[in-house]
Symmetry: D2
Subunit: 462 residues, 4 copies
């Protein structure tokens, strides 16, 4: 694999087209801020300077999606010239010949420190895959997701909107119209019309190179911050074995999960008892798998014994995951902004094990009861099998804290950590005059009705 040591602009003109460069040499990621607004429960994305390093994740094994990824990469390369475009290794080798400019790749363990922004092309599974690249990390870059073919419940944008979508997320928080920038690139921004909101440091440079259509001032991307669960898997002597666990799902190719770079390793070790935690965006599942017998799992809540679950399995789900497996298992549908974690049994051998919702900050422990005897149970996170666990092992789960980090973390003091920031589709021209409404529309109600067929009416011809 050809690598490139100095990915500076001056140098770039000499590198061979279609080369695959080493993403680990790229400048470190730019950490955006997320501002609360009065009119919406969504956050507003604020780039301190334009994002540079974009990871593009197309659905695997879907040739038409690869083609779309090529089109998308070409567009942003030509219109936004300072961007570095990154792919996973396997995708990079497949795609680089189709691209008339160099692209980047690296071991995925460098992504958390390099990637400013992720773009997925595919369905919910692709978004879950994107999130899983950051599943050992507290700070996930914003994810802009395009649905390809059948719509997913998590994906927000249609692919044919990709130019508008990209421009919006790239410019988000620049606070100037593009025409302003071109004329008075260093002028002051107009005053924020929400003066009560917390001050944000707005640099006015970096966006100058973007030419073309103007956007309204103060237009910014809306972010739905999806809460995650931290998951630690402990062996019978109480040692966290997360780092030994490789993805074991066989039908989706993956690279070895590399050792964490030292800079990340030390980070927050002392403060976080679950460290290093896996982070789940949908859920953690323990399941009997192919074992024909019922699984027996002791459930503790904040170290109190709650119950012995005798069941096919048990789910601990985020509100995002409430429309995934938990829904199938009989759980209620929770809006992703409700701060809760759900305990949903899978086929419990009980008439009275109703799904539970606990505060997101609750500590849940699942311990394999001795009664399971020799059985090995499957542990999966977001649909990927991670481990087989046996008697005496336990899984500890806790909602991930979200917000501005208190003490200096790995990426600089006071930066945002926690959650998966998903760029929410804003209404376009064809969407009618929904300006008022759109302020608070996170697409969730639309997805419930359109995709999940929530309360689908009886009767013919509907």
């Amino acid at each position: 694999i050809p690598t490139h040591t100095q990915p500076t602009r001056s140098f770039r003109t000499t590198v061979c087209r279609q080369q695959i460069l080493d993403a680990s040499t790229l400048p470190d990621r730019i950490l955006p801020k997320y501002k609360q607004t009065r009119t919406s429960s969504l956050l507003s994305l604020q780039w301190p300077e334009p994002p540079r390093n974009v990871l593009i994740i197309p659905k695997l094994l879907a040739p038409h999606v690869t083609l779309s990824a090529v089109a998308f990469a070409k567009h942003i390369h030509s219109e936004y010239p300072n961007l570095n475009i990154i792919f996973e290794r396997r995708v990079a080798s497949e795609i680089h010949e189709s691209l008339p400019f160099p692209i980047y790749t690296s071991d995925p363990n460098y992504f958390p420190s390099k990637i400013d922004l992720v773009t997925t092309l595919g369905g919910d599974g692709t978004i879950l895959r994107a999130a899983s690249l950051f599943s050992l990390h507290e700070s996930v870059p914003p994810i802009l997701s395009f649905s390809m073919g059948t719509l997913g419940f998590l994906g927000e944008w249609k692919f044919d909107e990709y130019k508008r979508a990209w421009r919006e997320v790239f410019m988000s928080g620049s606070r100037v119209t593009i025409s302003d920038l071109q004329e008075h690139p260093h002028a002051k921004t107009p005053a924020d019309d929400h003066p009560g909101d917390e001050e944000v440091d707005v640099p006015h440079h970096g966006w100058e190179s973007v030419r073309g259509k103007s956007m309204g001032p103060n237009r910014s991307s809306k972010i739905l911050l999806r809460n995650r669960l931290k998951v630690g898997i402990y062996d019978t002597s109480g040692v966290n074995i997360n780092e030994q666990l490789m993805p074991t799902s066989t039908d989706e190719p993956h690279e070895d999960l590399p050792a964490l770079p030292p800079s990340l390793k030390n980070h927050s070790k002392s403060t976080d008892p679950l460290f290093p935690a896996f982070h789940a965006i949908n859920e953690l599942v323990i399941h009997r798998g192919s074992n024909p017998h019922l699984a027996i799992i002791d459930v503790y809540v904040n170290d109190h014994f709650l119950t012995e679950a005798v069941a096919d399995g048990i789910l601990v789900s985020t509100p995002t995951g409430s429309t995934a497996y938990s829904l199938s298992a009989g759980g209620s549908i929770m809006h992703p902004l409700v701060k809760t974690l759900l305990i949903t049994p899978i086929c419990a051998r009980s008439l009275s094990f109703r799904p539970l919702g606990l505060p997101l900050s609750t500590r849940v422990t699942l311990r394999l009861s001795d009664k399971n005897r020799g059985r090995e149970l499957d542990v999966s996170i977001d649909g990927k099998r991670r481990a087989g666990v046996t008697v005496g092992m336990e899984i500890r789960i806790e909602g991930e804290a979200v917000g501005r980090a208190r003490s200096a973390g790995g990426f600089g003091s006071g930066s945002w950590t926690g959650g998966v920031p998903c760029v929410i589709r804003s209404p376009g021209r064809g969407d009618g005059n929904r300006d008022g409404i759109a302020q608070d529309d996170d697409g969730w109600v639309g997805g419930l009705i359109g995709l999940l067929k929530f309360n689908y009416p009886f009767g013919e011809g509907q």
Copy 2:
């Protein structure tokens, strides 16, 4: 009814025993503060000075509970001499002859401005009745509830613990041991061991008169703040008709809901669109009642159309109410600290109307569809029928905001508003060494298992 104009202590000696005095003449209520702590998600009750006006609410039509109320009143009268003991009018006339000291009563509309602390003796229904006395108000006094006979899910204390329970809640936040008080009544309190916590103004007087057993320093009552829903009922021309609505349940005696006193009437009218709102601690229900036909209700979420519910009815529930009617209707169980409101259909004529959980701040509107034709549907709040509604009318619901009031409210600037502060049972001597655990124990898990028979195991002899 004899009333008494000046309920000062000096005067009290001359009044006739067994008299019923006018509670509206009592000093205004003392507003406690609620402090967050690091070790628990419960709040800590902080009285700025000792509470004086106590409303005692026994279960109705239950003679043995009335006897317990007498015992309780005698105890606190003799041990805590500055207390004014208040009953609802009907209870007062039944009970005053049994008490060798004067008691107070008044129209219930004075309670919100006079009552420092409520004590209920009964089950969940009695607590709901207590809360309903404050259902038009934003600030509810702390409620100390005793279970009598069968335990309820909301009630925390066993009646035979009443002496300890009272002492704890009365002293809560005084921050001195009682022996300290007796020796050096004006000495400084020991420094707060959570110096980072927000400063609380601690007066050191007022508790001197309480003699007897000492409590540990810094011992305070734990408060579970139960979120409520604000409910407005609107006629076909969009006018809020809450004030015209009287409780209509016939099997529980009630007094006329009096006009609000002027001071409260103006309060916050401008800022609150639902004003005057009913506040529900369990839920709001629309139901077909005796009408044999399905009700048809349009549901809007933040002004977006969500769905047309064709059903027996529809519930909008707090997390507290998730273990009440919503549970029976198939809803999930939510911990009372999860900030959510639940939409749960009652016998929806649909295979795909799953219960929903939305952020507590969501605005939900239920509008009676024209398709109901002439039908009148029942509207109930917390198990009390409040109105019959017809085509075109609507119910607007929103989670009540909770916290320190921003602007000056009715009761003084910056005071706590919102929610129902319930005093949580602390472990006693007989409860074993649960000190560590008890910090975060709100009794909820115990109630699930002990009372709701959550995941009750199969098999004989359990």
Copy 3:
């Protein structure tokens, strides 16, 4: 109301058009036989001679349905000249001016002894209303039902198929092609191709007058026999008070339920402990109605105590009713041919009250517990409120036996009793070559998918 004493054919030519004649003077009903076949679980309708007395029941208060009823009546009057067309009194007076021939009506209590065949035009509600006319009787005539507007789950035929539908049901069991009849009206029928099946006496006369298009030989209408529940309501002294109970639903006009004619009164009194029983085709419901408190009902199964239901109410449903209220209350969907009765609680205050299915012959008793105190609960049958019941009263329910009567019943020895015989739609020309499949198609699976949206798939654009 004009009545006519001798509705013989010779006389008919002289009666004034548009007259309303007295249906009680019509010849007694003709009892069809129902033959089991090897290829289908449906029964085959066998008229011993052509049906004469047809009751047409259009949906009420729906003018376009009334017009369709007129068209239908004109068609069968002109093509099938010996028919007597009967309407309920209220419909008759509304419609008779639109019809150029006399029609019949009477008190509904004569219908059970006069009506050969019922035709409904409307939805499920109209079929339920038709069945309710026979709800005190063991033998219900076949019901041919047309859906008007929105399809119902029970209705089988589209109205524009009415000519074919009528011809098929009218000729059913005649076992000759119409051309055969015209040429050799008294010839022997071809041998039954299922010689093992039980012999049926086939008269070859009566169908001669029907001219026109030929049908295939042996073509007969398929009958889905819907099982009913027998329901007895007992006062506190154990006396069956069914006869005193009038329909009390106010929004659907009804005539007084008349005293049974003597001939029916004596019938089967001795053999049937529930006599006179109401018969439910969907379900029996006890419900708290407008009472805000939970209902408390003791449930007995074959005289064993089963459970105390604390709930909004309780349903005892037929398999037919499993897709009605019971479905909304969480019950499973049962095929109408499964011989079961379902006990489904409505919002039970219990985590462990799962819906139950018992053998259809089970005796279920619902007794109002003393704990209900003064409350009156609503009792409804098939969506019509029948009674308010109080403490100590009970409802006894039992699946109706179905088949050939053992001993001589009211209508002649060995005739079929029990159940509601519904004429199932046979596939027409436009339905494709479904001959093989159609043999066993009762339309139920189609209704599940098309109407109830059973397992409606997720995803867009469906």
Copy 4:
């Protein structure tokens, strides 16, 4: 393994104690009759002559159960001297040293033609294991089951009742009191008190050797005939591969499933399209097993396409199985006498896939959709994994017909086939005066309440 060719009584005295003889040499089984009675929906067991060959199946790996099996075997050997006592091979070698008389064993494929009566000692799993020995056969001997330790839902008798239980089932249908037999061994039996019931040929010999306490005349064992499902597994070319499928559950030892003896092989091949069928007493399950992705299964009902199930799996259950896995998956509880088969999805990815009940005679086909791609799904019957199935394979299921065989079957003309005849516990002395009630008591309601905690009441101390 020593075998013995001629297990006649004369010879027996010479065989070595503790020997294990060859059960294949035993006389062929005696087929009992099952009589319907007027007072109960249970059947009455009628032995034409005393049963001789008893298979005793203790729970595996449970030493105290093995001890009980020894006690039981000794008792019946000494009191009922003509009995041949058979064990599964593995149990026989473990137990024979503890027994002072020879016992029998053989390949389990001889059991169906040799065993008169099965006795299980264990829980539901042991009964399922007993039934699985006959799962390729249409005629299952009566099963007398004793619960050991925790009660099961299927097991009826407590072990300490074993003497009474055995006597009752052994004598069942002999129609004479034991004292009668001793005095007038060949006297006529008293007339049947249900003369209308079908004649049963009653031989009066064979029971003479049983001495001791007398039973009432006409006392017979009540039989609950549990319906089974016939299951055929077909490869992609439509060939039934049942015979190639071995039990694959690894945690329960088993012997190779031997080739069917020729006599059974030909039997009924022509008439039964599913031959050779597995018979399930609980259910057939297809499940994703350890595969993390959803299974996709097309469901056909009587060859009509019903739905595409996207789910963890799908269950087709008997009414007996309705309280097993189907219950956990959300199915309703069905009484075992309701003739239905249930289709219950396991975690269906759909809001509208409600459990279904179809007539027991329905043909259900489950076909693995192409959309599963390479996935292999698990197929289990009654909790034992039987096969892994892949795209294009299908499972065909049908309720087993039950009753007197029409044509000559393998075991003689007109004998009973189908179902699993379970001996129901009759009330003993200590059970109070429940004579009247007990007539129809199949223990099912008791099991619901006592074991499944059906509608377990809320509140403390229950």
